[in-house]
Symmetry: C2
Subunit: 323 residues, 2 copies
């Protein structure tokens, strides 16, 4: 099933968001403008706006108000990706050169700052004080997740808890906030808001785990960047944590990681192949499935409607996506 | 006259802000915490909080409310300094190693992101929607100023307008916003708010011009970083623009700047000496004085009180400061 089909009824509204995004990133400064537009056009699934809109469907759905939250969250996501590429020294994303590759780290840093500021400007339209608190809390956690990612690089002694806390901060909270903020700006009742928040959180966890699996199992063409990029950058993800329960692999990786500067793509190829073909992938997928199930379960208190069905379908898609 | 004496009556309130800052930057993550605390302890004049408090004195002065704006603006200033050091590749600030020097560019970028997010969290306490709009607009302009600084580096063909627009964005608007937001959160009338905004804008322009002059005239010990750092980094400031009206110096600098990568501190020493001893310094000071006069004039519509006197004294101090 195509993802887009599950929320086809939002097509018109999503194009309103897309227009808002284009209008927002417009910069009266050539470099910032070009870099921002490149980021926007690079695409992405616009998952966060979709979650905002779907969550709002459980309350008073007022697109001209809600769109400010939807575009704001997508901009925050975009800004964090640009800064992320600086941290990970990534040259490709979604098959296109990153801002830091096309310009440099400094331009990438400022483009991120600019898009963050634009996101906030958009968000000033929102009246509910709680929404502002949730947004800033989320941004703080997001930054903490990124710094943990740096700190934990090449450290294979980290445990599952460290990994889960990191992806919670780095990915899941922005998705749960998208759902929660969608509920808040539509004035849903508290029970609905909590259910949507939970759904988003579990979805986000599952989403990131699948992402981490695909980095091993998908091809370079599918990923839009070299396969095994995470490990090359020293990011220890769930499949790695499972795989290095094997003492031989643990030793092999720990020897290699003693000199991170010397690691090249080719050196890691045999290890990546071992991880890809080990049961680590299956075990990681099981953890993802557990989160997915929880995401489904969270929805059960909600009334049956088109939005609920779409949220279920998205969970289904995310859980089985090949890319 | 000591600067601190002019606002001695705020001493208690400023220590409340200082406590709020310390509390705010607390991070449940060792690297972020250490980097943020280092930034905070590196000091600074806390000019922005001082402007917020003084502006609030013209309305309903409620410290427990106002302090959120005061600390928020200082945090935004701090965050922009960390990112600025990445852009300028600066290793020293106020006589201490910068975050990017002590850690690296990536940690500096994330520390800035974290402090930005903390500033926003603090600002969510503020109820007035206009205050939020002003804050986000200021942050956008701030970023534009920084990117212009990158773009205009080593470009000696830029004109005075380019320079003035850049320092407006980079420095003056955050100071004018400090004054304006102080007025807004104290519910002053519109006339008072406009006067304070103007004062801040002109003060900010003068402040940055003096800063740019001091980079040539002050010693390394006074600056807490090598003298002539701006030119070494390719930042063309007002004294340079005046000095290169001399065709010989224009030619000399343009030849050097053709290979920015080859420029070393020693190569620039004779040029820095020429600029320091030329009338460019005097002429730049005249422009600063013009802005200072406008800052004074803006205050004249305000009632005479302790706060007004302090604002006048600060203008006087800034205009004559040797560091």
């Amino acid at each position: 099933m195509k993802l887009a089909k599950t929320y086809a009824f939002l097509k018109k509204d999503l194009s309103v968001i897309e227009d808002a995004l284009e209008e927002t990133v417009y910069a009266n400064q050539p470099v910032l403008h070009e870099a921002s537009v490149q980021l926007l056009k690079a695409g992405g699934k616009r998952l966060r706006p979709i979650f905002v809109l779907l969550a709002s469907k459980f309350g008073e759905y007022n697109l001209s108000y809600i769109k400010n939250v939807a575009s704001s969250l997508e901009l925050i996501h975009m800004a964090s990706l640009v800064h992320d590429d600086v941290i990970d020294n990534s040259n490709m994303r979604r098959g296109k050169p990153t801002v830091k590759a096309k310009w440099d780290n400094q331009v990438a840093m400022l483009t991120g700052d600019y898009i963050f500021a634009k996101a906030l400007q958009q968000f000033t339209e929102i009246q509910q004080p709680r929404a502002h608190q949730i947004l800033s809390d989320t941004m703080i956690e997001l930054t903490m997740g990124e710094i943990e990612q740096i700190k934990d690089k090449f450290n294979i002694e980290q445990n599952f808890r460290t990994y889960l806390r990191r992806i919670k901060r780095k990915t899941a909270l922005l998705i749960s906030s998208s759902c929660q903020l969608g509920a808040i700006v539509a004035n849903t009742d508290k029970k609905t808001e909590t259910a949507l928040y939970r759904y988003g959180y579990y979805m986000g966890m599952s989403y990131q785990i699948i992402d981490d699996i695909l980095d091993f199992t998908a091809s370079e063409k599918e990923l839009g960047k070299p396969a095994g990029s995470d490990l090359l950058q020293g990011n220890i993800t769930l499949p790695v944590l499972f795989a290095i329960e094997d003492p031989a692999l643990h030793k092999e990786l720990s020897t290699l990681f003693r000199n991170p500067a010397h690691i090249k793509g080719e050196t890691l190829l045999p290890i990546i192949a071992k991880i890809s073909s080990s049961d680590a992938i299956k075990r990681a997928r099981k953890v993802s499935d557990m989160y997915l199930q929880k995401a489904y379960d969270s929805l059960q208190v909600l009334p049956n409607n088109q939005a609920k069905e779409a949220l279920e379908n998205i969970a289904n898609y995310i859980g089985n996506r090949q890319i």
